[in-house]
């Protein structure tokens, strides 16, 4: 089961977990949640995306994980629009029979999402808004999955 959601609504992790856990053969579910940090003076975070291309990119990422780790479920939920500190930006989940596959696939989902999906973050601090710069460490994290 592949579940891709890109939207403006808050992410309901309880509901997403129930869906992922329902996958055939699920004995292990690993998740990753990204939050707007509350401690670095950002008042608002806005997420822009490329409608259509975003969903296609996320589907490719999820399909890659399902094929590589024989997952029962791969979920990617990504918010767009304005968010405030403490809110969830992204949630990914991987369900598999055993834990090693679930944990690795979960890391793959978030690593690849960071480099392969057309999202852009803009932070507002006070009256100052700036686009977040891409990080080389994200590219390195995504590329490690190519090597092995």
């Amino acid at each position: 089961m592949i579940r891709i959601v890109v939207g403006r609504d808050p992410i309901d992790i309880g509901a997403e977990m129930t869906l992922a856990e329902g996958a055939a053969g699920a004995g292990a579910v690993a998740t990753f949640t990204g939050l707007v940090r509350a401690d670095d003076s950002v008042g608002m975070l806005e997420l822009e995306h490329y409608p259509g291309a975003t969903e296609a990119a996320l589907t490719r990422v999820a399909e890659g994980a399902v094929a590589r780790w024989s997952l029962g479920a791969a979920t990617i939920v990504h918010r767009v629009g304005p968010m405030t500190p403490g809110e969830r930006i992204v949630f990914v989940a991987a369900a598999a029979p055993h834990r090693a596959a679930a944990l690795e696939a979960c890391a793959y989902l978030i690593d690849r999402l960071k480099t392969d999906a057309p999202f852009w973050k803009r932070e507002t601090r006070g009256t100052d808004a700036r686009w977040v710069e891409a990080r080389d460490t994200d590219t390195a994290a995504a590329e490690r999955w190519e090597r092995h």
């Binding site: 997420l47 490329y50 999402l113 057309p118 999202f119 852009w120 973050k121 686009w131 710069e133």
Partner: protein, 85 residues
Amino acid sequence: MAIEMLYFAWVRERMGCAQEIVSPPPTVTTVAALVDWLAARDATSADALADRARLRAAVDQDFVAMDAGIAGAREVALFPPVTGG
């Protein structure tokens, strides 16, 4: 040929629009050449597209390198490196 251009994030802001239809001449055959052609139109475009090292592109919603061809392309998007997640 008519191509729908899409701009995102600071490319969109600097271009002053999210979308436009352009008709480059047949000599423009790659994304890089298209960017050059757009930038040559006016000061706003030149400024918005000046930092080529930080520009990324998609042709018909597939991420591509700047030397990718645009033959038959309906939609070309220009944007900064992505920062989701």
